[in-house]
């Protein structure tokens, strides 16, 4: 469990990126921080692994104040995935995946063997192992980034707009892959995005942030959609624009779902009784 207590961050310019934030991130779930730019979501993420030091407040991981931990050691036990894959361009894929293992002092052969297994986990062909990052597609690079973050088997995975730089089809693939991996590994994942669709798609819990890192609403996607806390949230998730405000209409004996403008969005089926 990750806990932020009264956390603030003021940057040199004098603006508060985050102001007095309290947030509890439960273990073994995907928590998505979503907000538009300026909402401080990346700052919140980076305060967890001390890439950014808060100006006030405490960040606790399983009850331990991270400020008391050595930042380098802390980062080695937290996986991190960023938008631009951030792969080391001068290292082969295999060595990139093995980076943290090597930093933790594991021998080269063991680290590479473990890295190959991690590549299997994220669905990367082992044939990629000897390539350099620039020889891969954007989607493949992002998978390598995820593999690198998972290789040392961290409990926590921080993901900063991990699928923001790939095209929509690849993004959907990667989101599916993430859900599949999460089913298997059950990590504590904190994912930052500005895309509300992505948030609802991958998040067990969604935290909607507004300017200055203030929480507009948090809960499961269903809770947020069912009862937006205020107009800001309603606008943000799209119920007011009609995109998520769907209606059922009967056509040719089947019940189809249409949006506010009458465009079909899907077919309504009964939930199977389990």
């Amino acid at each position: 469990m990750i806990e932020l207590r009264g956390v603030s961050k003021r940057f040199g310019g004098g603006t508060d990126a985050v102001l007095d934030l309290d947030l509890v991130i439960p273990a073994h779930q995907v928590t998505v921080l979503v907000g538009s730019s300026g909402s401080g979501k990346t700052t919140v993420l980076r305060m967890i692994n001390r890439m950014v030091e808060p100006t006030a407040g405490t960040v606790l991981i399983d009850g331990d104040d991270v400020a008391a931990l050595d930042p380098v050691r802390l980062r080695r036990r937290i996986g991190y995935v960023m938008q631009s894959s951030g792969l080391l361009p001068h290292r082969r894929v295999l060595d990139n995946v093995a980076t943290v293992l090597r930093l933790n002092g594991m021998g080269r052969r063991d680290a590479q063997a473990r890295a190959l297994e991690t590549m299997d986990t994220v669905g990367l062909d082992r044939a990629m192992a000897d390539r350099y990052p620039h020889q891969l597609s954007g989607g493949q690079q992002q998978r390598v980034g995820v593999a690198r973050a998972l290789a040392a088997d961290p409990n926590i995975l921080l993901m900063d707009e991990p699928f923001g730089a790939v095209d929509p089809i690849v993004r959907t693939d990667l989101q599916d892959e993430l859900l599949r991996i999460q089913n298997q590994l059950a990590k504590t994942i904190v994912l930052v995005t500005h895309d509300i669709d992505e948030a609802f798609r991958v998040g067990d819990r969604v935290v909607i942030l507004r300017e200055g890192g203030r929480i507009a609403q948090q809960g499961t996607p269903a809770q947020i959609m069912a009862a937006p806390a205020d107009q800001f949230v309603a606008d943000f998730v799209g119920v007011t624009r009609g995109r998520r405000s769907l209606q059922v209409r009967v056509q040719d004996g089947r019940r189809i779902v249409v949006d506010a403008e009458g465009r079909p969005a899907g077919v309504l089926e009964e939930e199977p009784t389990a």
Binding site: F11, A17, G38, S39, G40, K41, T42
Partner: protein, 231 residues
Amino acid sequence: MNLFRDALAWLLDPAQHTGAGRIAARVLEHLGYTLLALAVAALVAIPLGYLIGHTGRGRQLAVALSGAARALPSLGLLTVLTLAVGIGDAWLAATVVLVVLGIPSVLAGAYAGLEAIDRDVIDAARATGMTEWQVLARVEAPLGLPLLVGGLRSAALQIVATAVLASYVGLGGLGIYIQRGIALRSYDEMLGGALLIVALAVVVDAVLAAAARVARTIAAPARQPAVHTAD
């Protein structure tokens, strides 16, 4: 440090400031060779560099030739050309050497300046209906000016430095003091000459550094500092 005091005394000696061999005349000679060579190098290299930068063709060749030119020892080139044209026309040999020396830097400055421009800006200029000449004259040339002036600056520096060698083929310039000082073992003249050369090089560099600042304001008038927003 006595030697440097002697050099200073030599520099201030009225004997160095009268007659045909006076310091001012040598400085003018030196600057004359420099400016002539820089002008010729610019006349050859700027159009060529713009052609390369505008069309995007011929870059590889220019890079290869410039690299080869750097490997050529100027002193060797100067002496062999002087033998070829005869000592009477040594000025021609010297000018050719200095021009050859200056061309790569100016050329690189010209095409690198054009290459560094955001492609979208040039596409937009074409899209608004500018002819190729207008694109070059109104967009590429002004935006590429800082790098071009940078190229001229390095060329000028190399030419000033190498023009010191001109005295060894009987052409005067500031090298004469070093040459004569070494031959006569007169350290005051040798050091005095060296100090003059350093001073001239520093002044020429400073003048072109100022020109570079002007060029930057032409390329980017009143540039606003970029605003970064942390997310």
